[in-house]
Amino acid sequence: MALDMVEFAAVGGQKASVPEPHSSDHELIAAAKEGDEDAFAEIVSRYKNPITNFLYRFLNDYEEAVDLAQETFVRVYFALDRYHTDFAFSTYIYRIATNLAISEIRKRKRRSLLSLTGLFQSSDDEAVEFQPPDKRSLQDANFEEDERSKVIAKAIETLPPKYRLPIVLRDVEGKSYEEVAEILELGLGTTKSRINRGRGLLKEKLRDHI
């Protein structure tokens, strides 16, 4: 099912600058395939905030979240010809973002392992990747979070990825169980179970804040 702009504005809580106000995602993608740069810009405009928010809540690292969100759109752009309208574009783009986020988590694990051994710092890329995430608050006033939010964000970050992903998609992004299941390519029962289990783990971690 194609999700139209109105639905995404509701989910993402954003006001898109709208060159084609009533175009659905699939119509925009079709136009982008034809070389319409404005149509792709509209796609970016619709999804940049939801995807950035999703990645930030999953990774708890703003710069990494922005980087991966941009990478998500770059991949969408280069895979326009391979995109099929069999399922919603939002599912498609969240799936790409999810895969990138999982890759990032794996990289972090490798980095922490390497930093323990301290043996390899071979390529320039690795040297860049070894930079610890900048946890300072950004100047952007929108980014300021209160202490409670930081505690919650930290608690989410400590969840195992298999629980963190569905929790963020369901409870932060407001996706339906069915959408979460599609994005994660899991069964509906498994998805619900993981969400419930993730909530239970979060409840334990946030006992003082509930």
Binding site: A41, Y77, N142, I152, V172, I210
Partner: protein
């Protein structure tokens, strides 16, 4: 579910999470996306390049190792020999080659057809000796002879031929030929400990009968000698 958690309590979690402030992309977000697209930059598309980062140095090392391996055979002390031009020639006029060094000395006239390359030959000693002993005179071009099996491969290594006396000396046997007889003039070192004695007649070395023109490949180790002493043949093995 492995852990029983009342759903009613869990329902507080969504409210907490929904209350989190939504994070927005920076203003430069679209610019960053456009810049990456313009550069054709994608981490996905870069993955083959990251593979090349490993593959290229590995291939270079392999080539270097192969070069060193080959050049190891072509060390400086290998004689430069002249090789018959390998363009097809009638068999009758192909110069026969027993030892590339001999070719150079015996057939200087053929130099016009020759080009200088480094060659090598893995020819066993025995073949050398048989050929040198004249048992098969395949070296005479006038007979139409010639070693087809020794068609010169420029990558084959030839080792320097040394006279049999040198091989014997390496084991402590100083010998000289009196006619076809190889007589041990003095014996020392390993040969003496083995039991070779002054006055012994050396009949064969490493199982190969010797004569004044016998040669061995450089580096040949003396493994056994057969000597004649007081009418008896003795085989002494190192």
């Amino acid at each position: 579910m492995r852990e029983q958690i009342p759903n009613t309590e869990n329902e507080r979690i969504p409210d907490l999470l929904k209350g989190l402030k939504r994070i927005e992309a920076p203003e430069s977000f679209e610019f960053g996306v456009r810049a990456r697209i313009a550069k054709g930059e994608s981490k996905e598309s870069a993955s083959p390049l990251s593979f090349l980062k490993i593959a290229v140095p590995t291939a270079a090392l392999a080539v270097l190792a192969a070069f060193l391996y080959v050049s190891g055979f072509m060390s400086a002390d290998i004689p430069t020999v002249q090789v018959v031009d390998q363009t097809p020639m009638p068999e009758a006029v192909v110069p026969a080659i027993v030892d590339t060094m001999e070719v150079a000395s015996k057939e200087p006239d053929s130099a016009a057809n020759l080009r200088e390359v480094q060659v090598a030959s893995a020819r066993p000693n025995r073949v050398n000796n048989k050929a040198r002993s004249g048992s098969v005179d395949r070296t005479n071009p006038s007979t139409g002879g010639g070693y087809k099996d020794q068609t010169l491969n420029p990558l084959t290594v030839i080792k320097r031929a040394i006279p049999v006396q040198k091989v014997l000396e390496s084991a402590g046997i100083h010998a000289e030929f009196q006619g076809d007889r190889c007589l041990a003039n003095s014996v020392s070192g390993p040969a003496e400990r083995l039991g070779v004695k002054r006055g012994d007649v050396i009949l064969s070395v490493n199982g190969v009968s010797i004569n004044p023109s016998a040669t061995f490949e450089e580096g040949t180790e003396l493994k056994s000698v057969r000597v004649k002493r007081a009418g008896r043949n003795l085989k002494l093995t190192f």
